[in-house]
Amino acid sequence: MRPPRTTAVRPPRTTAPRRTFALRPSRSPSARLRRTGYLFTLPGLAFLALFLAYPLLYNAWTSVHDVGLSGLLGGATRFNGLANYRATVSDPDFWHAARLSAVFTAGSLLFQFTIGFALALLFARPFPLNGLLRSLLLVAWLLPPVVSGTLFRWMLDGESGAYNALLRAIGLDALSRDWLIDPGTSLAGVVFANVWVGVPFNMLLLLVGLHTIDPELHEAAAIDGAGAWQRLRWITLPLMRPVSVTVLLLGLVYTFKVFDLIFVMTGGGPVDATSVLSLYVYEVFFRFFRFGEGAAAGLLLLVVPLLAGAGYVRRLRREEGAV
């Protein structure tokens, strides 16, 4: 725990009502209460230790051993040092997947954040049916990814897909194609679907941020003759910076994780054109049963989310004073 950092200019609050986290120490800190407290945490923590922490550690163990299908049945395994890591980083497919992950993540973040921001600006203004329409948008985010994937596979279908029909209807026949089968556009296709899933979530979080901006700032600027564009540029955008960074970091973690959507839409194909890192790990581990290498690749896959998570936690600490 750190004491709240006092800065000259406090960043705008990112959440509506702030609740005190730093509770006063109980006036009579009885040892019994504390013991009950530990007892309360025990089942949950034991569960997470067993099903989350231990498997991840076991993964680390696997990554330095030569484990194949026979290892699954309890056969002999051999310590092989960093051989699995060497095999992974010298596999061109791994780097191909890493590049695809980078493009997929960057593309998704760029569009879902920009569109989400624009929608948040719209929905921050009061108008009839605001709440209803906003909730309708959220439905897109709540659908199981497998369903959204199936949906977009159908929407982007070559001959009978709705998007191609729309393109033909407005005279852009030349653009219509088999989006997910064409290796040149399949990655764009899965990014498109993922942006669709991500926009409502981005909008919702950014909306929370927009509501914390003091309306008097806008009123004062308007009286001083600032137009809508100037107020956006000089009031809204600077004040939204901390929230935006948080939303982007969260988006990075979530987007980097994506597996099901792509798996259902393309299965990584055509010819590995959409085989991002999570699909690469799946291939190595569950299709070729090269457990050692799969575990090593899996651990390498943790690097980006952990870095983003570290940034996220740092920001939380700065804003809340404590985590």
């Binding site: 530990y38 943790l302 985590v323």
Partner: protein, 275 residues
């Protein structure tokens, strides 16, 4: 923000955007209600006239789908139960009791949400098979709960911390036992948080795919998401039945969201930005 001069203009804009955005969802319903003969082709029908339930009867005629829906129901209910069972005491202790290491625990719970499912699925595949709980509801429920539990605690802890301590103490002074405080004061105040966590856990369990794909080969336990995926592979072109299946899978999602909407949106934003 200042009220707009023409609020209905904004409504019209937002409605148009929503309509364009939700086109895929409309298209799912449209296709599912269109006669199979009229689905494929260069000029699709924008309105299902005449509407037919043929696709639904074809989809629901398959015992595998009913079995998978049942499996998903069992799994997601199990996830909700396990999440609340572990999550409520854990978050209560973290919010209320000054313990050594509680800051570390909260941090660990934040970190626990970072690993991609596939990274966890790989070792779980080996470990669950060795423990003999692969291909069981229990194995899937436990795996899914690793996704929901950290999230639940992050959402619930601030809710519990928000209960004014003075109220609890006053109740204690007035002769209310510790159990009474929990049941009469704390629990009613945390109902919105509990509802949000239960609803979101259900949705996560219902939509989960990676663990279902990797930890269960047995159709008797596989969730409906895995079945839908294999349908896509097998009946690549019978889009009517596929969309009917997808719609059926969405029904509980939309119901849960419609009922718990307010709680879920609140809990979601609280869990993400506040931490």
């Amino acid at each position: 923000m200042k009220p707009a001069r023409h609020p209905w203009l904004l409504t019209a804009t937002a409605t148009l955007i929503c309509a364009a955005f939700l086109l895929p969802v409309y298209w799912m319903l449209n296709t599912s209600l269109t006669e199979p003969d009229h689905i494929l082709g260069e000029s699709p029908r924008w309105i299902p006239a005449p509407a037919t339930t043929e696709n639904y009867s074809a989809a629901l005629d398959d015992d595998a789908l009913l079995q998978a829906l049942f499996n998903s129901l069992v799994i997601s209910s199990g996830v909700v139960a396990l999440t609340l069972l572990f999550g409520v005491p854990l978050s209560y202790a973290l919010a209320r009791v000054r313990m050594r290491g509680s800051g570390t625990m909260v941090l660990a719970l934040l970190v626990a949400q970072l690993p991609p499912s596939i990274v966890l699925a790989a070792p779980l595949f080996i470990l669950e098979r060795r423990a003999g709980i692969d291909d069981t509801y229990l194995g899937l429920i436990a795996a899914d709960t690793t996704l929901t539990l950290p999230f639940a605690v992050i959402v619930l802890r601030p809710v519990l911390g928000g209960v004014p301590r003075d109220v609890e103490e006053a109740a204690l002074v007035d002769g209310c036992g510790l159990m009474g405080v929990l049941l009469r004061i704390v629990l009613p105040l945390m109902v919105p948080g509990l509802v949000a966590v239960a609803g979101l856990s259900f949705l996560i369990g219902w939509g989960e795919f990676v663990f279902g794909l990797t930890l269960a080969q047995e159709p008797g336990v596989q969730p409906v998401t895995v079945l839908l995926n294999s349908f896509v592979g097998q009946h690549g072109t019978s889009w009517g039945a596929l969309m009917a299946t997808a719609t059926v899978i969405c029904v509980p999602v939309v119901c849960v969201f419609a009922i718990f909407q307010r709680f879920i949106v609140g809990g979601l934003t609280a869990g993400s930005i506040k931490g």
